[in-house]
Amino acid sequence: MLEIKNLHVKVAGKEILKGIDLSIGPGEVHAVMGPNGSGKTTLAQVLAGRLTYEVTGGTARFEGKDLLAMKPEDRAREGVFMAFQYPVEIPGVSNAYFLKAALNAIRKYRGLEEIDAMDFMSLVQDKAKLLGLDETFMKRGLNEGFSGGEKKKNEVFQMAVLEPKFCILDETDSGLDIDALRLVANGVNTMRSPKRSMLVVTHYQRLLDYVIPEFVHVLVDGRIVKSGDADLARNLEKHGYGWIVEEAPRPQPARA
């Protein structure tokens, strides 16, 4: 589904990703872990299409298409979704309006008719229940005055409504208390399917206790230095990142 080859990315002139290779098949859940500053969020953002990130080499193909050549909105319409680490607050745009606009933009791209208002409401109510969001929240401004936990729930809620093929979760567990974490993880797990893949970017193991990945990759200094299964994540939780950083191969000069 997603094929990343030798991806190099610069942010503000500084090379952050130094050659990432990653292959994610349909239905697979991959976790990318790593210490602060290793490039995890950069990887998530560059896949979603953040424009301030400069791709200096390599490729990323999504279902055979050149993902990096697409505008962010086209990536979303093709089925890529990123749950933001820091969702933006937009007063004056209601959650309902925003989500309907997004859903219809995606449907239009796929040649589908706009969703009927009644169908939209029932869809939204079902998914909101899943995440323990109450009904008033749809009328509130987009993320306006939401707590950290509510914002993260809203991200997963949007994901549930938009039903992407490929989900990127960027530090979705940060700022969640244990109850919220369970709800969010449950929301994510409900969406797992043989046709939907996920990339879970996280610093800590705790989300992975609930959303158990098939593959775990450790990112250090812009490179994947170790890959394994869910046990690797547990090892990291126990022993920290130190042992991997020492084991990692010496950095090679990046190819331009």
Partner: protein, 446 residues
């Protein structure tokens, strides 16, 4: 400033030549003469004046404006006014074409007993004594050239008088149409709105016009808000982008009165709005709620002054500017808290959104506080759309242009949401969206 001097002399000469048109009670004739003398002394302001630093009047002064041609069809028919109505909202409507009452376009809905809504010229003819106490007493021409000109030249306008304890449920819609036949035309609408003790009313002033007619509207509205009255006032500027518009509103508030002045400015080549309010006695509250949205080469200026002359009054001012193209805008807010005005609460916020690199706005918030037991604050921002927010919307499948429209619309919503009358709010939403290239598309899904 040769242009300013020539223009001044033209207006002064015009006053002398056509004075008989503006007959009326002797007290008013005396005031008119004082006003034109004052104008002659003041002249038109130049950019050397602090308050005119950002506004070049030369384009206005270069045009040889003439009084409207009277008689014969003026081309203003009811259908042309349709777009200026508010959907299902029922209103009494008074229409003025170039500052003169147009009975054929106007209608009165049933009104509570004692409420008088009429042409000011008519009242000046029939019952001038009832106006002497208030007319020209609040909008001071002594320091303001444009108020002086209006005072010298006005012929007609709206007179709204709501007696003690009367409640007018339906809004009163005053429509001021500016139109020119072959020659640039100047009009001086003059309005007097009086609310008696404990009364309530909603008054909407719409300024309308059509390109490419070159017009100059110099309007003055005086509002006398009696004790414990409640007034919602709207001023909606929708003249064409070939129109010049200077408007002054003077609000005089008595004890415990509550006044809201919404100013929504869309049209006009050069628009300048003054709002001056004064608290005459304690316990009053005022809300000034403004949105200006120039684009292209428009200029939209907003000067406000809130005079806390009495204790325990509250003022809340919220102005937002959205500027596109090469447009210019000014927000200049002055809150003046006098020495005895203890327990004053005053808050002023002006936020501006620049949609293009060539747009320019000057924001000057101001607080002058002479009392010591007050709660006052002001804030001002100028910025562009938040690129993080644009990316957030795009990452959900919304295309870039729509994302920018949605965020622009959202920026205005803070002001629009202050509007209590739903049909007016809906209309304003439409007007905002219609100013954005793909706004209709955004509106469909709202």
């Amino acid at each position: 400033m040769a242009v300013a001097l020539d223009a001044k002399q033209t207006y002064v000469a015009e006053f002398a030549s056509a004075e008989t048109d503006r007959s009326g009670p002797s007290w008013l004739r005396g005031i008119r003469r004082s006003a034109i003398e004052r104008f002659d002394a003041l002249g038109f302001p130049t950019q050397r004046h602090e308050e005119w630093k950002f506004t070049n009047l030369a384009p206005l002064l270069r045009v040889p404006f003439k009084p409207p041609i009277l008689g014969g069809p003026d081309g203003v028919v009811a259908e042309k006014l349709e777009p200026f109505a508010f959907g299902i909202l029922k209103t009494t409507r008074l229409v003025f074409v170039n500052g003169r009452y147009a009975p054929r376009l106007s209608y009165l809905r049933p009104l509570p007993e004692g409420v008088r809504i009429a042409s000011l010229a008519e009242v000046l003819r029939q019952d001038p004594g009832s106006l002497e106490k208030d007319l020209t007493r609040f909008a001071r021409f002594q320091e303001d050239s444009f108020v002086a000109l209006n005072t010298a030249f006005f012929i007609d306008g709206a007179y709204v008088d709501v007696p003690k304890n009367a409640v007018v449920d339906e809004p009163i819609h005053l429509v001021f149409v500016s139109t020119s036949r072959d020659r640039p035309t100047v009009a001086y609408p003059r309005n007097l709105i009086r609310l008696g003790a404990g009364s309530q009313a909603t008054v909407i002033e719409t300024y309308a016009g059509w390109a490419p007619e070159v017009t100059f509207t110099n309007a003055v509205t005086e509002i006398v808000a009696g004790p414990a009255c409640v007034l919602e006032h709207y001023k909606i500027q929708r003249e064409s982008e070939a129109a010049f518009h200077v408007a002054t509103m003077a609000v005089d508030q008595d004890r415990n009165s509550s006044v809201t002045c919404h100013s929504m400015s869309f049209g006009g080549a050069l628009v300048r709005n003054y709002v001056h309010t004064i608290f005459r006695a304690e316990g009053g509250s005022v809300a000034l709620n403004g949105l200006f949205m120039p684009s292209g080469a428009q200029q939209s200026d907003h000067y406000t002054r809130i005079d806390h002359a009495a204790p325990a009054c509250t003022s809340l001012e919220l102005y937002r500017g959205i500027l596109g193209g090469k447009s210019r805008g000014v927000f200049n807010g002055n809150i003046y808290v006098r020495k005895d005005a203890q327990k004053t609460v005053a808050r002023q916020v002006n936020k501006n959104l620049l949609l293009s690199k060539e747009a320019f706005v000057d924001s000057t918030p101001g607080l002058e506080i002479l009392a010591d037991d007050v709660k006052c604050s002001h804030a001002s921002t100028i910025g562009q759309l938040d690129e993080n927010a644009v990316f957030y919307l795009r990452s959900r499948g919304i295309d870039e242009e729509n994302a920018r429209h949605i965020l622009t619309y959202a920026f205005a919503s803070d002001v629009v949401n202050q509007v209590k009358v739903a049909p007016i709010r809906i209309k304003l939403d439409q007007l905002i969206l219609s100013r954005l290239p793909k706004g209709a598309e955004v509106g469909e899904t709202l």
